[in-house]
Structure formats: structure tokens, C-alpha cells
């Protein structure tokens, strides 16, 4: 298990202050390119991680398409920063599903996107995409969760959406997202505790936390 105490230092500083980003959103809508860059740097890394959870190696293509769409329509967007993140994430999720459908070469089935997580495999991604070892390990832990729980945790804790916005992205009730995130975090906590106790029930170990669970996610 890689050390979590100090995640890989980010050479590229992201503007994370909410007020600044709110201002950047307004400026970007007015056409300010630097403001757009600030928004991109804030959201893109987390968006890429979320897309990686959905489509694995195609995540970069998916996020590139997402930002193309955003660049085209941002000036017509109205809403706050949470709304912006939700909008962008929705586009990303739609593009990810399109990508997954294209990859599987079978007719689209909107009712069964559960294969998305089954397709995700960080080992298939370009190693340069996720440079931070701790970040990669943390994402691997989250991706080992059942799909609904993993998506809820990613949207809430990684993308930074609030529960209602995450629920809109997923097309669920906020309460359902809260419960899914709660259960996901509980599993993660249990896994961490098992690791720290030396039980050996890691994400690569046997039992419900291993790869079998990810397969189970596809059956949700």
C-alpha cells in the first residue's frame, strides 16, 4: 500500500478556492480564456479520474470530447459552480457511455450501463495519466466498490458535487446517492482497517473486496 500521507505534489497548481472559481466561471462565460483555463485545471483531473472509472483507457478521449462540448456552449451556460460541475460531469458521463457502447459493439441499452465499471481497469490506462501513486491506489480502492457506490463516492468526493447535483447526474434521488456513498465509504473504511490490521483482505485479496466484487458490480 503506498503511503497516503503526502499525495504526489502537483506541479500544476489548481485554483480550488470556490470564490475564485465562481469568478472564473463568470469570466469564462464572458470569453476570458484564462478563466477557462482555471476551470479546466480545477475540474479536468478529477473528471479524468471519474471517466477512468467508467471507461478506463478511453478516459482521455472522453474528457477531450467533453471539453470540446463545454468550450462550445459555455457562453450560454447559466448557473453556479456546482451547476457547472454537474453539467460538465453529465456530458462526460454521456460521452463515457457512448464510448462504452462503441467498445462493446452491441446495441445501446440505457438501462444497463453497469458494464461501465466492469470495463474500467486502471492497469489498462496510460501510465502517465495517473502519475500519483497514492492517487492511483486510492482510485483503485474506490473502483473496487460496487458500481453504484463507486460512482456516488467519485461524484461526491472526487468531482466535488453536492448530493443533489450528483443525484441529477446519476438520475437518482439524493437520498439514494447518500446511501450509496455511505455504504461505499463504509466498505472502504473496513478495507483500510483490515489492511492496517494485517488481515490481508485488500482489494487484490480474496473475498468480497477483491476482483470478484468488481465483477459483481457489473451485475448490479
Amino acid at each position: 500500500m503506498p503511503a497516503l500521507a503526502s499525495p504526489t505534489a502537483a506541479p500544476v497548481a489548481a485554483a480550488r478556492d470556490q470564490t475564485l472559481l465562481e469568478d472564473a466561471l463568470g469570466a469564462a462565460r464572458a470569453g476570458d480564456e484564462w478563466a477557462f483555463v482555471a476551470l479546466y485545471r480545477d475540474l479536468q483531473p478529477r473528471l479524468l479520474r471519474y471517466a477512468t472509472a467508467l471507461v478506463g483507457a478511453d478516459a482521455e478521449d472522453v474528457t477531450a470530447e467533453t471539453w470540446l462540448h463545454v468550450a462550445k456552449d459555455l457562453r450560454r451556460f447559466s448557473g453556479d459552480l456546482d451547476g457547472f460541475r454537474g453539467w460538465v460531469t453529465t456530458i462526460c458521463r454521456n460521452r463515457a457511455m457512448d464510448s462504452a457502447r462503441a467498445r462493446t459493439r452491441r446495441p445501446a441499452d440505457p438501462a444497463e450501463p453497469a458494464d461501465l465499471v466492469a470495463l474500467a481497469d486502471l492497469r489498462q490506462t496510460d501510465g502517465a495519466v495517473l502519475d500519483g501513486l497514492a492517487t492511483r491506489w486510492a482510485l483503485d480502492q474506490i473502483l473496487a466498490l460496487p458500481r453504484t457506490e463507486a460512482e456516488a463516492v467519485l461524484l461526491r468526493a472526487v468531482i466535488g458535487l453536492d448530493a443533489p447535483t450528483a443525484a441529477e447526474v446519476l438520475g437518482k434521488r439524493p437520498g439514494a446517492v447518500r446511501v450509496a456513498a455511505h455504504r461505499g465509504l463504509r466498505r472502504l473504511a473496513e478495507r483500510l482497517r483490515a489492511d492496517s490490521d494485517g488481515v490481508g483482505v485488500g482489494h487484490h485479496g480474496p473475498g468480497r473486496h477483491g476482483s470478484g466484487e468488481r465483477r459483481g458490480a457489473a451485475d448490479v
Binding site: L4, P7, T8, A10, V12, A14, R16, E33, V37, Y40, R41, Q44, P45, R46, L48, R49, A64, W67, L68, H69, A71, K72, D73, R76, F77, S78, G79, G83, G86, W87, T90, I91, R93, N94, M97, P110, P113, V129, L130, D131, G132, A134, T135, W137, A138, Q141, V153, A157, V158, E168, L170, K172, R178, V179, L185, R186, L188, A189, E190, L192
Partner: protein, 255 residues
């Protein structure tokens, strides 16, 4: 051991672990078990250069969208090839049939609807210049031929389909001083193809596309730009723009 980490089973009721409110705080980046807090912080760590390597392209797209020419390019860039080409092929077929059979009413109605839904400025015309969209360009040319019908009609030109199509485009080229005018083909289809080639290849200094757009606006406004516009819509393929309706791009996942 943290007090929060008293989990005894993943399937236990949520209330035996943390309250929902505490979970919300944890997900919002505050509090929670230390190890879990660190894991979530690591997952949401700031981006690395590798994760941001698409920044230049995204910024270029944003900058390009700031200009009318850029907007046309972006719309074309988002065209989904199969859907757009199919739609434009259909439009081309309709235009050919309409002009060849003297179906001026059909052609004119398409022209008017196109003009009503796409407000363009003359300088937007010649931006139909990116590669890889020949089929779409041909379709746009077909619409251009239809627009030519409209222009000719407004000028009191004859109404027979074959002759009108050529005359309409020829009128636009004539307004440009006849440079590089490629119309005058033997039929409506030929005229449409010629016009398409000119529209695609004519850059800012080109003759037909730009000239028609500037000098014969009624004819050019329904030409290549219409194809671009319809292609852009087709490229969105079910995704609607944002704005007041923030959920315009609705998730396609299960409810």
C-alpha cells in the same frame, strides 16, 4: 483506532457506522476517519501535468468558439460522421429531386426554413473549409443549389428546376465578377456538385463561396452554412445545449 472505524460488517445498517450527516461532511472534505480522509484526499488530489495535457486543445476550442468563424468550425468538428452524412445525403437527394423535377415549392420552403433558423453574417460563409467532410460539403452544395433557386426566384428568374438551379448559382458568381465560377453544369446535380467544390475550397480569398455570401446574400445564406448548421445539430445527437435548462445534457443512465 479512530472512533469511526468500528465497522463490523459492510452489510450492517448504515446507522451503526456513521450518521448520514457525518458522511456528508466527510464527502465534502471535512472530518471522518483519518485513513478514509486521506484516501479521499488522495483520490481528489490536484492534477498532474499528464492529466492536464489536453489543456491546449480545450483552450483552442474555447478561443475558436469566441469568433463566428470558430463557431462554425466547432459545429463541424462535433459532427458525427455517420449521422451527419446520412442527413445531408438525404438533403442533397431532396434538393436534386426538387430541382430536377421543377419542385420549386419544396426547394423554396427548405430554403426559407433554413434562413429563418440560422442567422448568419456574410463572413461566415467561407468558413466551410476544413478537410474530411466532402460528403457534407456536397450536401451543403445541394442546399446551396436550393438557395440559388430562392435567389433566382426573388430575381424573377424562370421556374424550371434544371435551369433555375444553374441560374441561381450563376447569378451569385456573376455578382462576384465571375471569378472561378463553376456553375452552368448540365443539370441540377452537376451544379450542386460544382458549387460544393467551390464552397469547400474557396478560402477567405476564394471566389464563389465568399462572393456569393457577400454579394448575393439571399442565395448564399441558404448554402454551405446551412449544411454546417444542420451538421452541427446532427453532431450533438440528442444532447441539447445548456443555459437556463441546466440539465440539457441529461444522463442516459438508469434511473
Amino acid at each position: 483506532m479512530c472512533e469511526h472505524c468500528t465497522v463490523r460488517g459492510a452489510d450492517a445498517a448504515p446507522t451503526t457506522w456513521m450518521a448520514i450527516a457525518d458522511v456528508d461532511r466527510l464527502l465534502d472534505g471535512d472530518g471522518g476517519p483519518r485513513d478514509l480522509r486521506r484516501l479521499l484526499d488522495a483520490a481528489a488530489a490536484p492534477g498532474t501535468p499528464a492529466e492536464l495535457r489536453g489543456e491546449r486543445d480545450a483552450l483552442a476550442a474555447f478561443a475558436s468558439a469566441a469568433t463566428p468563424r470558430g463557431r462554425w468550425r466547432l459545429r463541424r468538428a462535433t459532427v458525427t460522421a455517420s449521422g451527419a452524412v446520412a442527413a445531408k445525403s438525404l438533403a442533397a437527394a431532396l434538393a436534386v429531386v426538387g430541382t430536377a423535377t421543377g419542385g420549386l415549392a419544396l426547394a423554396a420552403s427548405e430554403t426559407h426554413s433554413s434562413d429563418a433558423t440560422t442567422a448568419r453574417t456574410p463572413e461566415q460563409g467561407p468558413t466551410w473549409s476544413a478537410p474530411g467532410e466532402h460528403a457534407a460539403g456536397v450536401a451543403g452544395a445541394a442546399l446551396s443549389a436550393v438557395a440559388g433557386v430562392s435567389a433566382a426566384d426573388a430575381a424573377g428568374a424562370p421556374v424550371s428546376g434544371h435551369e433555375v438551379a444553374a441560374h441561381g448559382i450563376g447569378g451569385g458568381a456573376g455578382a462576384a465578377g465571375g471569378r472561378g465560377a463553376g456553375p452552368g453544369g448540365p443539370g441540377a446535380h452537376g451544379a450542386a456538385q460544382d458549387s460544393g467544390g467551390n464552397s469547400i475550397d474557396a478560402g477567405p480569398g476564394g471566389s464563389v463561396g465568399e462572393s456569393v455570401a457577400g454579394a448575393a446574400s439571399s442565395g448564399a445564406s441558404g448554402g454551405a452554412p446551412s449544411g454546417v448548421s444542420s451538421g452541427g445539430e446532427a453532431g450533438d445527437s440528442g444532447t441539447t445545449p445548456p443555459g437556463l435548462v441546466r440539465r440539457a445534457e441529461t444522463p442516459a443512465g438508469p434511473k
